[in-house]
Symmetry: C2
Subunit: 330 residues, 2 copies
């Protein structure tokens, strides 16, 4: 990558989503963990794919969705992630570049195919995700280009990276480069079960190693093992510079030391598929932070972006977020 | 295939759609033929794909969409079409089988990848299609299983098959088997430019070799080289047993000898993407014909199916058409 200045560089699992409708009973019969992201192996992926209904394929991956959102807002993002030299890898690379994200990842040259996430959308618009990481799990420290990280105001890391060991090393390397260069580090907790898997390490990260934390209500409650949102809020306050906590239809709360903003949700006509809501919230918020907006305004932009992505299938914006935000915020 | 009785067996290009939003200016700059399907080669497909925005991938192909619609209505369809042994071929096979269409096509074993159609949806919801046929063009007479055709009440042929020479031979073979077995043959004219390419042969087909014809207003006017819908209607009347002529927001007209039905369109809240409207009209109509409905009722069911598919991106139904039709027709 040859970039002189970037707003945000994201690190994440490079995934193509396979999105299909499913009844509640389909999840129950298979013991799937509704609303969560579960890692599965190639064989499980094949079995589930055979059982599920017709789907649509769309580029996904949590941090990649966030970078796509920043590009749609008119920002300058880059992305590190690993795809294979196959059709879905070409789809992933096309989609992320065509929306304006800098993505140079050389395809993995061994056998693992491009990662995919089988997304089952139930009639209540909730999404349940089963991920086969494939090539995404091969992201490692060697894939992190120092100059790119140094060129970005923020490095953005998805908690999911803590699952594959090499990706975790890439995560740590990127965070160290960023802090050495006087840049900021942002983290998304990704998923309450991901927090379950890595609670102690995530708590340590949040306490002094992260500048901006993104978490939804379930994730932050899981991190501090409490059933009470406010209790979790009090715990996280002061640990990182900024925590942006999302609460679905209740909006979000942004905490930064003494500053606390309770932000109403943006209006939504009809929720179709909640996939990508958190990813796009992070996109709006990071865009706001890197473009001179205050915390309340950044939270408002974030809510508008999240509201757009839940009105349709798929985890990336279908309209120009730059124009959408301009029409609502000015 | 081991099937004892089928409603309809479809023959068509097996295609995965890559659907993206595009501005009018994008089409103009590239001289793309708005609203039409244009065949492109591998190199053109690569160039256009690189220039277009992020997309979603969804199984498509005109006749394949129609068979998917019949399955969604609760009918018994099968499909003949050619995919490659690659990821998009697996996606195509999964989607069509998982909705309930019998599909046994052995993947093509040479180098052509699974065919794809780059669909550009403009802000007015019109779709402009550029198709790289790939493996689809390798469908030939050897792929047509006589027993399957004999088992189906109708064989349904898309006009697009007239483009690749081997597929045209497959088309003719299937039609001959069907008629020898006392079955019916239905044809969709597919596209006004497809009619331009094959006008004389299509006129000959329609005049005595086809039982049911599907055409939209532009196609039937192109077939008879007239600017007047009613003039085209008078021309086609009596040539084939039934002609179902669709007119977008004006509904459709069904002509069968002395019988003529002018059918109002189904209500649509908001048109998002017109891809698949004609395909799903044909699905509803053929379902009606094979399930004891009269022509007017079959046309009404057809309109309901077409109305569903244009309210979202992609050319296959997102809801159970069986339940939708039950709620509207009873």
């Amino acid at each position: 990558m040859t970039v002189s200045s970037l707003d945000v560089v994201g690190l994440g699992n490079a995934i193509v989503d396979v999105i299909a409708h499913a009844e509640e009973s389909f999840l129950e019969q298979r013991g799937l963990n509704k609303g969560a992201m579960t890692l599965i192996d190639a064989e499980q992926a094949e079995t589930l794919y055979a059982a599920m209904g017709p789907g649509i394929e769309a580029s996904g991956g949590s941090a990649a969705n966030t970078m796509a959102g920043i590009a749609s807002l008119g920002g300058q993002p880059a992305f590190f992630g690993k795809v294979s030299d196959d059709q879905l890898g070409a789809v992933f690379a096309h989609d992320i570049r065509s929306i304006g994200v800098v993505f140079d990842g050389t395809p993995a040259d061994d056998a693992a195919p491009t990662g995919r996430c089988l997304v089952l959308v139930t009639p209540d618009a909730q999404r349940t995700m089963q991920t086969f990481l494939g090539a995404a799990a091969q992201l490692g420290p060697d894939d992190i280009e120092e100059n790119t990280v140094r060129a970005a105001q923020y490095v953005y890391l998805e908690g999911y990276l803590w699952d594959p060991p090499a990706a975790k090393q890439a995560f740590i390397k990127a965070a160290e480069i960023a802090h050495d260069a006087g840049r900021k580090v942002a983290l998304s907790l990704s998923d309450p079960f991901c927090v379950d898997r890595h609670r102690a390490e995530f708590r340590d990260l949040v306490d002094g190693h992260i500048d901006v934390l993104f978490a939804n209500e379930e994730e932050i409650k899981s991190l501090y093992e409490t059933q009470n949102f406010d209790a979790a809020l009090q715990q996280v306050r002061g640990k990182c510079e900024i925590a942006a906590l999302t609460r679905s239809e209740k909006g979000s709360v942004v905490v930064a030391g003494d500053e606390v903003h309770v932000i109403d949700p943006a209006a939504v006509d009809k929720v179709v598929d909640t996939t990508g809501a958190g990813d796009l919230y992070a996109a709006g918020f990071l865009y706001g932070l890197t473009h001179g907006y205050g915390l309340a305004q950044a939270g408002k932009i974030a809510g508008i972006c999240a509201a757009e992505v839940i009105t349709h299938m798929g985890a990336r914006p279908e309209v120009s977020l730059q124009e959408l935000v301009k029409s609502k915020v000015g």
